[in-house]
């Protein structure tokens, strides 16, 4: 169990660093999904299935989708402006 936790902790730290230090927001959005799911796995290893369930839904689906939608909206707006 300890080994699993250790591996997941390292994974979470690495994914979190990648999210924070990546410049391109689109790539950041994708990495957020990875980070969110690795957090959920860590919570599972911490014997917190309730939190893990929440985290999968939020970190794995809701957050990335919202960020992608916001980015798409920004890009669409930019395209529209460039056309004019």
């Amino acid at each position: 169990m300890t080994a699993v936790q250790a591996v997941l902790l390292v994974l979470v730290a690495a994914a979190g660093s990648l999210v924070a230090l990546t410049r391109d927001p689109l790539r950041q959005a994708m990495l957020t999904g990875v980070f969110g799911i690795s957090l959920a796995l860590l919570f599972l290893a911490f014997q917190a299935p309730d939190v893990a369930l929440s985290q999968i839904g939020v970190g794995g689906v809701a957050l990335p989708v919202m960020i992608l939608l916001a980015l798409a909206e920004v890009r669409a707006h930019e395209r529209k402006r460039d056309d004019e």
Partner: protein
């Protein structure tokens, strides 16, 4: 500040914060050694006091139910805020959806088929999560999130959604308001029938492990499920609508 000055200030401060955290975390119990009495007592009384077999749900919806009520209202306020903030700028020309307009599908056909196939199971899982929150892992928050995820998949996969401009989906808006109101009303029921706000015992005790046990905890979970799913759908719909308005329609 110039960018480099800013980075220097941050680097020095971060080193300070790191030192502080090291000092503070050194005073924590070793990982895996924690045994606080608060959590221990709660785990002991969950079944005898409320017939709740999920100690986390028991904490979130009963012992510390008011925290959850407030958190639910943060979700509620955030959804209202997203709608209020995303309404159109006054100067921006509004594009009415004309008959015959087909909004560009967001995804490929394969994704759409997959999405549609996923919706049924997602909804079943979500309802299951909400219903059994007091018994097994799950509850209003988790179920609400999964339900909303299902709805978003459906919308994103469907592609051809046509939302009337300026009108967020009325149903989701009503659902999330009703969920928020429901939680407070259940709290008031506790005050009226059991003498304390958010007291859950008025709805009966029940047998541990059965669906209808743990007083009004399952009802509070349903209210939360409505609130969370409704709010997330309202938010997603609002972003989707923005995007579609910004997109030029293809003539079919």
């Amino acid at each position: 500040m110039t960018r480099s000055a800013r980075m220097v200030v941050f680097a020095v401060s971060a080193a300070g914060l790191a030192t502080l955290m090291a000092v503070a975390f050194a005073g924590l119990p070793s990982f895996g050694d924690y045994s606080g009495r608060y959590g221990r007592i709660i785990a002991q009384i969950a079944i005898p006091d409320r017939a709740a077999t999920n100690a986390v749900t028991f904490t979130a919806f009963d012992v510390r139910g008011v925290d959850t009520m407030v958190e639910e209202f943060i979700v509620f306020a955030a959804a209202i805020a997203a709608v209020a903030l995303l309404r159109h700028l006054r100067g921006e020309p509004e594009r009415e959806a004309r008959p015959g307009d087909v909004l560009r599908p967001l995804t490929s056909p394969a994704v759409r088929v997959m999405g549609a196939a996923l919706v049924g199971p997602t909804v079943v899982i979500a309802l299951n999560l909400v219903a059994h929150g007091a018994i097994t892992p799950g509850g209003g928050f988790q179920g609400g999130v999964v339900l909303a995820a299902g709805a978003v998949i459906l919308v994103a996969a469907g592609g051809r959604v046509r939302l009337p401009p300026d009108e967020p989906p009325l149903l989701a808006e009503i659902v999330h308001g009703a969920g928020a109101a429901g939680f407070v009303l259940l709290g008031l029921a506790g005050l009226v029938f059991a003498g304390a706000f958010l007291d859950t015992t008025w709805a009966g005790h029940g047998t541990p492990g059965m669906l209808l046990s743990a007083g009004s905890i399952p009802l509070l979970n349903v209210a939360t499920g409505l609130e969370v799913s409704g709010a997330l759908i309202v938010i997603a719909a609002e972003f989707l609508e923005q995007e579609m308005l910004a997109m030029e329609p293809e003539s079919s």
